[in-house]
């Protein structure tokens, strides 16, 4: 099997998109992708996260690699490789900016040495690893062949030999005012040690460290360059070898290795975030993904963006279940405000999107639908235009969505028509609902108009509730049950911690 890419099982598809999809902000996917990619900025990973896959096969290709990557040892090996490659690139960038020949060549040699180490270590580590994914198996074959190629072998041997020669150079500089001399080192003793020894007897305990941090930027002034020139004259053969090395290996990095170094970070970035989230007691699973069926479910799913923002707080993350069986298509969510309805709607969208990237998704067990497009329409509170103008815009937008949507699309509606009259809202909502049912697409609709939930067999009702046991914790759940007007009033009382039990609890005797 030839190796294409660790991210793609085939070559003829779109691999990267520079533009963020339109629904990202509504689903808080923008925050999430920021959080995932933030520790890996220099790899420019966002274009991968902006590009959903269209093919179930590629999704499973990634699942396999992801599962391999869940092995901690393999993850550690890849991270070690990545760290070295980062430094290699930093050295190479630095070489471009340096002024003195042997200084440049010195750093170029370091870059080559580290590259050889990174690649051969990875080859060794992979040869011992238990790999199952098509992606890694093909890559292993590739890197094994590469490492054993004569080109790589001679690069490595020569770099080490040149470095060995230079590292064993030891010289002396004798400094007087306005002048200095350079010579080989001839066994002169360490004077600081002698002084320390003389006064050691007075030592009572730790004392201040007076060593100044005389670090200066990698760079060389003309004095140091002059010294280096003298050193090169003291040891001419070793520096000629360096010259020869740089000539022969001016471009040493393999293209496929370079691409792998970046692409594998897609998995690492996601798994690292997932690992943090798992620390909060939450689970992820590899979803079944279907391009044809619209029966979906997810148990113990949660809003990953929210979970990430709650990571360093005591606040719990609420998990929710949902399922849709044929012919059900539309989840109508009603119930008290601040009860987690919007979060639930976002979760539904996020789960599908993350599944389309080939990532494990929040939840214990999931089956999700491979969509062609996601559309969202979220009411924005800060919208202060006149109501009529706003209603018109809303309708125009929804019309546009309905014109583009297909049965394979996913639609998330959040409190649309909230600012119009109830009568209008009910009328418009029912109209839109009729079209959605006709389209037969998957939809989550958060609304206060709970009769929408019982319009047909295609709609189901889910309700936000406030669980009363522990009023201090916001254990808001969205559960599948008929909408119930009464619970709403009670829930509000609970939310404000004003029920009989709560008031007793709050006022200590």
């Amino acid at each position: 099997m030839t190796f294409h890419s660790i991210l793609f099982d085939k070559d003829d598809i779109q691999k990267e998109t520079t533009e963020q999809p339109a629904f990202f902000a509504d689903l808080n996917l923008d925050q999430l992708v920021d959080a995932i990619t933030a520790p890996k900025k220099h790899y420019n990973l966002k274009p991968f996260f902006y590009t959903p896959l269209r093919d179930v096969e590629t999704i499973y290709y990634r699942h396999e690699v992801m599962r391999d990557m869940e092995d901690e040892t393999l993850m550690a090996h890849i991270n070690a490789f990545a760290e070295k490659m980062t430094i290699v690139n930093r050295y190479l960038a630095m070489v471009e900016k340096l002024d003195f020949d042997y200084h440049k060549k010195g750093w170029f040699l370091e870059a080559a040495l580290l590259y050889c180490e990174a690649v051969s270590d990875l080859e060794r580590d992979l040869s011992l690893a238990n790999l199952n994914s098509r992606g890694f198996l093909a890559f292993r074959e590739y890197i094994t062949n590469y490492v054993h190629s004569p080109d790589f072998q001679s690069l490595m041997a020569e770099a080490q030999k040149v470095k060995g020669g230079l590292a064993s150079v030891k010289y002396c500089v004798i400094i007087q005012i306005g002048t200095f001399r350079v010579k080989k080192y001839e066994g002169e003793t360490d004077y600081s040690v002698e002084v320390e020894k003389t006064f050691e007897k007075f030592k009572q305990g730790a004392v201040k460290d007076y060593r100044l941090d005389l670090y200066k930027d990698s760079g060389m002034n003309h004095i140091e360059a002059q010294i280096l020139d003298f050193v090169a004259r003291l040891y001419p053969e070793r520096f000629v070898a360096l010259d020869r090395f740089c000539e022969r290996h001016s471009y040493f990095m393999d293209d496929n290795i370079r691409v792998f170094d970046r692409e594998i970070q897609f998995y690492i970035a996601y798994l690292e975030l997932a690992a943090d989230i798992k620390g909060k007691g939450l689970t992820f699973c590899y979803p079944q993904v279907s391009a044809t069926s619209r029966e979906v479910y997810d148990y113990d799913g949660f809003d990953l963006a929210l979970a990430h923002t709650l990571l360093y707080t005591e606040k719990p993350v609420i998990c929710n279940d949902f399922f849709l069986k044929d012919p059900e298509r539309i989840i109508v969510v009603s119930g008290p405000n601040q009860g987690g309805k919007t979060t639930f709607a976002r979760t539904f969208g996020q789960l599908h999107y993350l599944a389309s990237l080939g990532c494990p998704v929040p939840g214990r067990e999931a089956r999700l639908s491979l969509f062609d497009q996601i559309f969202t329409h979220f009411e924005r509170e800060e919208d202060i235009r006149n109501l009529r103008g706003k209603l018109q815009d809303d309708l125009v937008r929804i019309h546009g969505i309905l014109a583009r949507a297909t049965p394979n699309s996913i639609l998330i509606l959040n409190e649309i028509f909230a600012s119009t009259t109830l009568k209008d809202a009910v009328f418009l909502s029912k109209e839109i609902m009729a079209r959605l049912m006709e389209l037969d697409l998957l939809c989550v609709w958060v609304t206060f108009i709970d009769e929408l939930s019982s319009l047909s067999k295609k709609t189901i009702s889910m309700v936000s509730t406030v669980v009363p046991e522990n009023p201090a914790m916001r254990t808001f759940k969205i559960v599948r049950k008929p909408a119930d007007g009464l619970a709403y009033a009670l829930s509000l009382a609970e939310k404000h911690r004003l029920t009989y039990e709560q008031i007793k609890e709050r006022i200590k005797s």
Binding site: Y171, G178, R181, V182, Y191, F199, N221
Partner: protein, 497 residues
């Protein structure tokens, strides 16, 4: 070189954590009066006295180690004060000449440190002279070890080596650095080396193949280059400057430790002077292990009271060997509180190695001293008085251990006598079970007599009583069964009569 005048095997730690009930001890035993007498206005002496007195030693052996040293001090106060002058002199010199290592440049660090070293060497010579002259007269293990160490470590050869370094470190012949080629061919591992002048013998010099030396002289107007060369020199000097500055710090620390470890004894000398002027006796106590129960005292007086009223005060005799519980009852203003305070003070003084204010004194050491006094007023009172008492008691219980000692002064009296006695009795009984030595001053008859009725062997009852026919107080305590009437009627009569 270690001073070791406070412990036979370790340094005194001026930052050792004080017991959690430090504030209560200070208040209840009026310790500041003691510290002020020891300090004579010197804040450093005050702090050391406070730290030492409050960090009790918990075994007889280290107590005796300090007692011996203190006896030497009392015998040779002038020599000890002379040694104490040495670290003081160092501090004064540093202040007067602005000495110290303040710079951010290695060469300036080096010269600052060299200046300090030169000053220290002079002081160390003085110390050596004192040792040579007076060591003979000292008998304690601590001082004998100290003087021997000074004489051995600071001999003439050593001073010669040091002075040679002080000369070399001026680098008249240039600075020699060795370096390796590090990553990017940048110089690394800069090490300052001693220039080989004489250590190559002539044979080697003749036969060594001379390796080339390349030299470079900067253009006189190359300021940038001069600065770069200076930086490079600093890289080498940096390390040796560190070594010299740290050496100066070591000696500085040695002198500071000397000051610190002598300060306690200087405080004791100051206190002894004042008590001698009042004609008050002092005695070196005989400590016994914490597991024993010993309390055998004669002429024990409240040192703080004596220092405050500046005259001789009444002392007490008690023989309470084998007793775990001492209950003191009797007349108001009959000297009960004064006695209780003298017990606490003497215990702390014994356990830090001091003499005690008594004619003779022998007691077991305790693993912690606690006081629980009735508080007359408490500005921050939110809960009731009794509640506050119990919460303080609870804090004590959090940290008290077996073989500790606790002094109760009119505790649990903020409620009615029956409840107070019942709670007091339960608390005291529990403490006794846990092998805690209890001194309890109380006017609560039920509490005191309750213990009396139990007839326990390990309890002794002391009474403050009127002895003179005119009803005036003797302030002396004697052994006796608690009796019901308090002597408040006396007071009433005196004040109203």
């Amino acid at each position: 070189m270690k001073v070791f005048l406070m412990y036979p095997d370790r340094d005194f730690d001026p930052k050792q954590k004080l017991p959690p009930n430090e504030a209560a001890l200070l208040q209840d035993l009026e310790l500041n009066t003691l510290f002020e007498a020891m300090a004579q206005g010197d804040k450093f002496l005050f702090d050391v006295a406070r730290q030492t007195v409050l960090s009790s030693l918990d075994a007889p052996e280290p107590i005796r180690y300090r007692q011996e040293i203190l006896k030497d001090c009392l015998k040779h106060p002038d020599v000890v004060r002379q040694i104490y002058r040495i670290p003081i002199q160092s501090i004064e010199n540093k202040q007067r000449h602005w000495m110290g290592v303040f710079s951010r440049y290695p060469s300036a660090i080096l010269s600052g440190a060299l200046e300090m070293l030169e000053m220290f060497v002079d002081l160390l010579k003085t110390l050596k002279q004192i040792a040579d002259k007076h060591a003979e007269g000292f008998e304690s293990q601590g001082f004998r070890r100290f003087f021997t160490m000074i004489q051995q470590e600071l001999d003439e050869d050593y001073f010669a080596v040091v002075e040679n370094h002080l000369k070399q470190l001026k680098f008249r012949g240039g600075v020699l650095l060795s370096a390796d080629l590090g990553n990017g061919n940048e110089g690394t591992n800069y090490i300052l080396r001693k220039i080989n002048h004489s250590n190559q013998n002539w044979m080697k010099r003749v036969f060594a193949r001379k390796s080339p030396v390349y030299s470079f002289t900067l253009h006189p107007r190359d300021d940038h280059g001069a600065r770069a060369l200076g930086e490079l020199r600093d890289r080498g000097v940096n390390l040796v400057a560190n070594a010299v500055a740290q050496s100066a710090d070591h000696i500085d620390n040695f002198l500071n430790t000397l000051r610190l470890e002598l300060a306690f004894y200087i405080g004791c000398l100051n206190l002894a002077d004042q008590l001698a002027q009042l004609g008050e006796p002092i005695a070196f106590p005989k400590p016994v292990p914490a597991s024993e129960r010993r309390y055998s005292i004669a002429g024990l007086y409240d040192v703080c009271l004596a220092l405050t009223v500046k005259q001789k005060v009444v002392g007490n005799e008690v023989d309470a060997d084998g007793k775990d519980l001492v209950i003191i009852t009797g007349a108001n203003q009959g000297g009960k509180s004064t006695f209780l305070r003298s017990v606490g003070l003497a215990q702390l003084m014994m356990q830090c190695g001091m003499f005690v204010p008594a004619e003779s004194f022998s007691a077991n050491v305790c693993s912690g001293l606690f006081t629980h006094y009735k508080r007359e007023e408490d500005a921050s009172m939110k809960s009731g008085k009794f509640d506050e008492e119990l919460s303080r008691m609870s804090a004590i219980v959090d940290s008290i251990k077996p073989d500790s000692m606790i002094l109760f002064n009119e505790s649990f009296a903020a409620t009615n006598e029956r409840e107070g006695s019942e709670i007091g009795s339960q608390i005291v009984s529990a403490l006794l079970e846990r092998r805690i030595k209890v001194f309890f001053v109380t006017h609560m008859y039920e509490l005191a007599h309750g213990f009396y009725d139990r007839g326990m062997e390990n309890t002794i009852f002391l009474r403050a009583e009127r002895q003179r026919p005119d009803g005036s107080r003797t302030f002396k305590l004697s052994e006796g069964e608690p009796i019901q009437t308090s002597f408040g009627v006396d007071l009433y009569n005196r004040i109203f009569g």
